[in-house]
């Protein structure tokens, strides 16, 4: 499987923010659903290898069940691997041994969310002016005259 590297500035910004807020993440790569690298905290060659392994890992894990896989983590002897996906892309990250998985997942999802294209706001519904209530007042007529 060949993996291309085509860095995307917003993805690089998201990873810069991720490594700033997360002390546990050692390396991270953002890739599209075909495996093309969009941003990475490592050089291109390593990023391509990470993307290839992450895509294979995710695809094989996804095939385990009928439901769609949304995230995974692998605990290894001296470190852990995390992969999270959204509609358009995946983010793969590695940590040292014994990470706080919940926090890492949260940070990775936040990074993906920051990359998602903002959804167009629904048009505000034009509100019709309330109908004027039928006038019940009548001019007072001096009927007494």
């Amino acid at each position: 499987m060949s993996v291309s590297v085509n860095r995307v500035p917003p993805a690089a910004d998201a990873l810069a923010h991720l490594t700033e807020i997360s002390t546990q993440v050692e390396a991270a790569v953002v890739l599209d659903r075909e495996g093309a690298v969009q941003a990475a905290t490592v050089d291109d060659e390593r990023a391509a290898r990470i993307a290839r392994a992450a895509l294979e890992l995710f695809r094989q894990a996804d095939a385990q069940r009928d439901q769609d896989l949304v995230q995974l983590d692998a605990t290894l002897g001296d470190g852990s691997v995390f992969v999270v996906r959204d509609e358009e892309r995946l983010i793969a990250a590695t940590t040292g041994a014994g990470p706080t998985a919940g926090l890492v997942f949260y940070d990775l999802k936040s990074a993906l969310r920051s990359l998602a294209a903002p959804k167009p706001k629904p048009k505000p519904r034009t509100r019709r002016a309330p109908a004027k209530p039928a006038s019940t007042s009548r001019k007072k007529t001096d009927e007494s005259t």
Binding site: I50, D68, L69, A74
Partner: protein, 68 residues
């Protein structure tokens, strides 16, 4: 009397240290993969299960690539 007390304390400390080391070692050797699906289900494949073999292989590749 004092020697017997020291022996008992030493044995207690030794067994506690041993228990911690054993737990750490067994925890380290238990590689596993946890999969989270969109219906909220979680599946864990531990080292030794047939499903875990290819997944752990790719995970190790990924970790090795990240560390150069």
């Amino acid at each position: 009397m004092r020697a017997r007390k020291a022996l008992a304390v030493g044995a207690a400390i030794g067994s506690a240290v041993g228990a911690v080391m054993l737990r750490r070692r067994s925890g380290r050797s238990r590689d596993r993969v946890e999969l989270y699906f969109d219906d909220g289900s979680l599946v864990t494949f531990a080292q030794g299960s047939p499903e875990a073999v290819p997944l752990l292989l790719h995970a190790r590749e990924l970790l090795a690539a990240a560390r150069g």
